[in-house]
Symmetry: C2
Subunit: 121 residues, 2 copies
DNA sequence: CGGAATCCCATAAGATACTG
DNA sequence: CAGTATCTTATGGGATTCCG
């Protein structure tokens, strides 16, 4: 695995990032945090995620205890997803990341343009 | 913000996360936040990252305006990396994520074991 | 020392088709 | 509707080599 001997904090950060740090997990948690309860296809539609990746992501989040899955054996079937208590608590740090992303997107774009311009010639 | 109807911001959040959300970028920022200034091979040694990935990651971070690069044209050459102001601000949401991780990793492990146990037979 | 350039492989992830 | 199975392509990332 990864050698993080020189950065003990990196070990911990790396642990959590490898579990719930991928962008689909983050976006699913954000969506559920805001809407409370969502069905499979509602998430799919909202996030623009492929069916396969949503299925895999939700299964992982459920396994990690962040998301609760409720299956209604009706016809047609209906499956609802909500955040667990731990999932709710995850909302805070994730929201912090989300807000930072929104606040700095334009600055990043500006930095990129400046960089590309200075490198161009 | 994040509480608007639909999930229009998910696209933009996704944009930013796909830029600075990868594991190597996060680990580089954490290292620089802790040590202040680091040379190329110091980062390489600390993170256990390959030369290629470190080079690519640093170039991207510099382009995004998160990392500042100082080249000393000595023999042998010496290159130092530090965080920009925006890079420093990125550390806050990442640290929040780290703290959450520290508090919840054992719970996640427990949830996983319970899940795997309930699924197996 | 600090990269850049190749090569190569493992995995991620989209598209598609099928099912209860 | 909510998945699963399969195929295929795209990407990540290590190892190696070479250069100013």
């Amino acid at each position: 695995m990864l050698d993080t001997a020189g950065c003990p904090d990196c070990k911990r950060i790396n642990d959590v990032l490898s579990r719930v740090g991928d962008r689909w997990s983050v976006l699913v948690v954000i969506s559920l945090a805001r809407d409370g309860t969502l069905r499979f296809n509602e998430l799919k539609k909202n996030l623009g995620i492929s069916q396969r990746m949503l299925s895999l992501t939700l299964k992982e989040l459920e396994r990690d205890g962040l998301v609760h899955r409720t299956y209604h054996p009706t016809i047609p079937p209906k499956v609802e997803y909500t955040l667990t208590e731990m999932g709710q608590s995850f909302r805070e740090p994730v929201s912090a990341l989300g807000y930072w992303a929104l606040e700095n997107l334009t600055k990043i774009d500006a930095a990129r343009q400046a960089y590309d311009k200075s490198v161009a010639k």
